[in-house]
C-alpha cells in the first residue's frame, strides 16, 4: 500500500512507485527567496545565457530572509530581484513585510494538497502541513527546475508517526515536533519521508510546526495526513482515500496525553529533554517567531500567558510574526497590545534574526529561548551564544521568569 509520498510522486508520473526508484517530475510550484535568488539567476545566466523562468506562473518569489533590507548589499540585491520579478511577469511575489515564504505559500493556498512544491530553502518541508510534497533544494537544483520546469527525486522510504491522544495544558505541536526529532535523531530520517497520522484535530498552524521541523531529522518531506484540513484547503479524494493499512517502513508511536513541554539543548536539534531538566537557567533573549512558531496562534498563546504580567527585568522578549495576516490577527484580538504592555519588542513579519543576519542577533555569552527550528552554533549570531529551542508557551513562561520555565506553573495560577 502506498504512503503519501509514494502516492503524490506516483500521481505525478502516472504509475505506482516503490521507495528507491528515481523519478523525474514536474515542479508544480517553485519558491525562491531573497537570499538565494541572486545565485539562481547567476547560475541560469551562466548556463543558458538568460535568466528567464520557463513557467513564470509557477514561480513564487518572496523577500523574507533579510526583510526589510539590513544594509546596502541586501538592498541592492532586493532591488534587482524586484526588477527580475517585474520583467518576467511573476505574479506570486511577496515583498519585504509580507512574511515568511513558507507561511505565505500555505496561507495564500499557493501550496496545495497533493502538489509538488520545491523551494530554495530547507524548511520547504513546511508545505507538508497541507499535504503538498514540499522539499528544499540548493540554488543549482532550483535553477535547473526554473529552466526546465522539471526536477528529479529518489522515491523516499516512509517513517510513520502514529499519534494518539490530545495535548494537555501548556503542551503543543512544538513539543511533539521536538519529541519526534529527539527520538529519530538529526539523521534518523535522512532521505526519508515523515508521515504524521492521527492528527486530524490539529490546526493548519500546528501542522505547519510539525512539517517545518521534519527536515531537522533529515527528512525529505514531512507529510501530515490531510484528514481534517479546513474545507478551503481540503485534499483531493485520491490523496484522502485511506488505502494505507499496512505501512512497510519504520513507525514511531507517540501518545500526546503523556507529552511534556520539551526543550532542545544548545547546539543540537535532537538533544531534547523535558523542561524540568532545564528550569532555572537564566535567559537574556526570548525570541518568538519563524516559520515553525510565529503564527497568530503562537503569538496569541504567548500573549494569553503574559496578560497582566511583565517580561522579567534583564530579559528581552522579541516577537516577529510569520506573516502580515498573522500580525493583523494578533493586532485585532489584542495580543500585540498585551505583548507591548508586557514589554515585548515587535518586529516586522519575516525571518528576523533566525539566521543571524539582522534584528535581534545574539552576542557572545547570551542565552536565548527560541521558538524556531535550529539551535546550531552560530545560527543566530555569535558562535558563543546559546540557543534553546522550545514552544511559544515555554517562551512566555521564560519571559516572565527571566529563566527557563514551565508554562504549566503559570497556567495553574490562571486556572
Amino acid at each position: 500500500m502506498a504512503s503519501l509520498a509514494e502516492k503524490i510522486l506516483g500521481r505525478a508520473v502516472g504509475r505506482g512507485l516503490r521507495p528507491g526508484e528515481v523519478v523525474e517530475v514536474t515542479a508544480q510550484r517553485i519558491m525562491v527567496h531573497d537570499s538565494i535568488a541572486p545565485a539562481v539567476r547567476r547560475i541560469l545566466t551562466a548556463n543558458l545565457g538568460h535568466d528567464r523562468p520557463l513557467h513564470p506562473e509557477r514561480m513564487a518569489v518572496v523577500i523574507d530572509h533579510v526583510a526589510p533590507a539590513a544594509n546596502l548589499a541586501t538592498a541592492e540585491s532586493q532591488r534587482d530581484l524586484r526588477g527580475w520579478v517585474a520583467a518576467n511577469g511573476i505574479r506570486d511575489f511577496h515583498d519585504a513585510g509580507d512574511g515568511i515564504a513558507h507561511q505565505l505559500l500555505i496561507e495564500d493556498r499557493i501550496a496545495r494538497p497533493g502538489e509538488i512544491v520545491i523551494g530554495s530553502d530547507s524548511h520547504s518541508t513546511s508545505y507538508g502541513a497541507v499535504c503538498a510534497f514540499g522539499t528544499g533544494m540548493g540554488a543549482t537544483d532550483i535553477a535547473l527546475a526554473v529552466a526546465t520546469g522539471r526536477t528529479w527525486f529518489r522515491v523516499p522510504e516512509t517513517i510513520r508517526i502514529e499519534v494518539t491522544g490530545s495535548f494537555g495544558p501548556g503542551v503543543g505541536a512544538k513539543d511533539l515536533a521536538l519529541t519526534v526529532t529527539g527520538r529519530l535523531g538529526a539523521d534518523g530520517a535522512i532521505y526519508s519521508a515523515l508521515e504524521y497520522r492521527g492528527v486530524a484535530a490539529l490546526s493548519v498552524a500546528e501542522r505547519t510546526t510539525l512539517a517545518s521541523m521534519a527536515v531537522e531529522a533529515g527528512a525529505k518531506v514531512g507529510l501530515v495526513h490531510p484528514e481534517g484540513l479546513p474545507a478551503e484547503q481540503a485534499a483531493p479524494d485520491w490523496l484522502l482515500a485511506d488505502d494505507d493499512h499496512e505501512p512497510r517502513g519504520r513507525r514511531l508511536e507517540i501518545d500526546l496525553d503523556r507529552l511534556e513541554p520539551m526543550l532542545a539543548r544548545p547546539g543540537r536539534v535532537d538533544d531534547v529533554a523535558p523542561i524540568s531538566e532545564f528550569e532555572g537557567r537564566a535567559v537574556d533573549v526570548v525570541y518568538v517567531g519563524t516559520c515553525t512558531n510565529g503564527r497568530h496562534e503562537d503569538i496569541a498563546r504567548v500573549a494569553g500567558l503574559l496578560r497582566g504580567r511583565r517580561v522579567a527585568a534583564g530579559t528581552r522578549l522579541i516577537v516577529v510574526p510569520a506573516s502580515r495576516a498573522s500580525m493583523a490577527a494578533a493586532v485585532a484580538d489584542g495580543s500585540i497590545a498585551t505583548l507591548l504592555e508586557a514589554g515585548a519588542v515587535i518586529g516586522p513579519p519575516g525571518c528576523g534574526a533566525c539566521i543571524g543576519r539582522h534584528m535581534g542577533v545574539l552576542a557572545a555569552g547570551e542565552v536565548c529561548l527560541f521558538t524556531g527550528n535550529r539551535n546550531f552554533r552560530g545560527r543566530m549570531g555569535s558562535p558563543e551564544a546559546e540557543i534553546y529551542l522550545g514552544s511559544p508557551e515555554v517562551a512566555a513562561a521564560t519571559a516572565v521568569a527571566g529563566r527557563l520555565g514551565d508554562p504549566r506553573a503559570i497556567l495553574e495560577v490562571i486556572c
Partner: protein
Amino acid sequence: MARIWSFGSDVDTDQIVPGRYAPYMTRDEELGRYAFIEARPDFAAAVRPGDLIVAGPNFGCGSSREYAAQALHLTGLAGIFAPSFARIFYRNAANLGLRLFEADLREELGDGEEVDFDFEGRVIRAGGRELAIEEPPELLLRAWQAGGLAALLFAEARR
C-alpha cells in the same frame, strides 16, 4: 600526499559557512576562505587541493545554502567520506562536482594523517595499508567528469 581532516557527526551548514557569510556579503571566489571559519579556523588556512575530509554520519545537515558545498569545493578537496550525507547537501555537491563518498573511514584514518588518494585506482594508501573505495554510481562519475551534474543537465536543457 593528501591530508586527512577529521570531523564529527552531524556537521551542519552553519558550521561549514555561517549565514553571515552569504555570497552577496562575500565575493564568490573568496568563499573558500570562509569554510569552517568559526567551527575550525585552522582549516581554510591550511587545507590544500587534494586533501580529504573524513566525517561521521549526516554531513552537511541544516540549511539548503549551496554555498556551503561551494566553499568546500573551492578549497580543492578531493573528496568527503562520511557514512551518510544530508540530502540537500548531497544534491548540491553532485550539482557542483564536489565528490562525496558514502563510506565510514573514521576508524581507519585519523586527523592530520598523510595519505595517497588514488581515485582512478579507487584506493587510499595510508602507511602501508590500502583502503578500497567502492565504485561510485555511474551517473556521478559522468557528472564529476563534466564538472558537476548541473553541467550535464544544463547541456540537456540547452538542446
